[in-house]
Amino acid sequence: MYGLFSWSRKWWPGVILLIAFWAIAAWTNTVPLEADLAARSTAALKDVVLDKTQIAVDGRDVTLAAEAFSQEGRKNALAAVEAVPGVRLVNDETRLVPEAKPFVWSAERDVTRVSLSGSAPLPASKAKLLDAGHAAINGVEIVDQMGLARGAPPRFDDAASLLLAQVGKLKDGKVTISDTSVSLSGMARDLGGREAIAAALKDLPEGFKVATNDIKAPPYIFQAYKDPVAVTLTLSGYVPDDKVHGAIAQAAEHKFFGEKLVDNLKSSVGAPSGFAAAVIPALGALARLSTGTLVVSDREVKLSGDALYEGAAAEIRAGLGKDFPSSFQYKPEISVKPASAPVDPTVCQQLFTDLLSKGRIRFEPSRTTLDLDSIALLDRLIEIALRCPTANIEVAGHTDGDGEDGFNQELSQKRAQVVVDYLVKAGLPASRFTAVGYGSTQPIAGNDTDEGKAQNRRIEFLVR
């Protein structure tokens, strides 16, 4: 052993070369070693949830700067890096993600984009919400302005995902979660969207509650356009259901004559109450116009167009009758069609005959009360009568063969008189009109069929 001590005193010359080795090894290996440790540390943190992770290696010492989402996550991160082989020391520059109080998250939709802002509890939540956004809202850019914060309520991800799905049903608007309170505002994309959103909110995770729901429905619109050139009545927009649809189509058939019905109506929920009661009289008023447009938007009924003569315009402006629901607002914009050029009485007769071949003046069964559906036809007859101011006109009433002759004669006489009264009331001189009742004495079709009887029950205008 003494020899070894003795020899060791002669080992120093090799140390000079050893120092050279050391210097070269340090020169060439420091950077690769640091890079290797950085890579191993990064790999070790792969399964630890952190934000803003920065790893700096100085020699064998690792400085870990990151934001952790819990104390436990912070400890786990440090332990993971400390366990990396080769790491000598870990400088802890981690901190906890700030806590948001209240924890607010929101999604706002405008025409071109959906912006997600506020706080998300974890990076995974952010990714999940972005995915949910892309799934719910096709073709719209999703802008991520979310930060990360602690303090999210339990099941936040589920609540936010559900709300994002509702944003897909909005035209524009905003949904917000503040702690466990949910607020919604904006305009639904489709009719029924508001109701669909309200229904979906019932599935919010337990603990969440809807503080405010100010989602508005788009206006419930029904439109009718009477086109005198194409001779069409075009119905478009929405009706509540098939029953109301049928009632409106039937009313249009009765109130209009000659016009081809173009029915583009669609069924949708969300109609204001009393919809049919407002639309049907409004269609009657539209039928009286030469050309016109009816727009029912929510509870506003807007009728614009040209009446055939001044009296009709005044009546239409005055209102839609006692059955028109008071909750609806009626806004008529009625002008009067310029008077047509006067014509010869023979032309007048031709016009009366043509018109009455297209539509019939109707009365309530076995009574002398004018059916309101015939008003539009009467307006057209008045317009023709105004064009031949010198012609005297016989208004002839006829019945079918049912019933006693005396009753029929009287009924036809009274009905003809009612028509004459209506014409006089409209401003025509009474002296030009004679009401004559023919009963069933002048049938134009057989009285053995319902169709024939219907043809026989008629009012004729004869220029004398």
């Binding site: 020899g3 070894l4 003795s6 020899w7 060791s8 005193r9 002669k10 080992w11 120093w12 010359p13 090799g14 140390v15 070369l17 050893l18 080795f21 050391w22 090894a25 340090a26 290996n29 420091t30 070693l33 290797d36 100085d58 020699g59 064998r60 010492d61 082989p85 080769g86 000598r88 020391l89």
Partner: protein, 100 residues
């Protein structure tokens, strides 16, 4: 430690071989080498350096270079020791043979 050895095994082997050669020579080399006093100072220096390394008080790259220097030196010493003992064994056999 294992990581350092794995990462620098080439340099450690070189230090070991250098030590082996130095140890081999030292047995038959004439002269006194370092004085006892100097040896003690060197030993004391090494103890201090080992203590610094063990307590990890030297920061960053300097700490790494200290660790690296010490394990190179350790390999060198092991090499020297083995080299010296081997040479001593060889020399003793050569001396024994003529006598036999």
């Amino acid at each position: 430690m294992a990581y350092l050895v794995m990462f620098h095994w080439g340099w450690l082997l070189a230090s070991f071989l250098l030590g082996l050669a130095m140890g081999w020579i030292s047995v038959v080399q004439h002269g006194e080498g370092l004085s006892k006093v100097t040896s003690r100072w060197v030993a004391a220096l090494i103890v201090v350096l080992v203590a610094l390394a063990a307590t990890r008080v030297v920061p960053g790259r300097f700490g790494y270079w200290l660790d690296l220097g010490l394990i190179l030196f350790a390999c060198y010493l092991i090499g020297c020791t083995i080299g010296a003992l081997l040479r001593n064994w060889v020399v003793s056999r050569q001396r024994a043979r003529p006598a036999a």
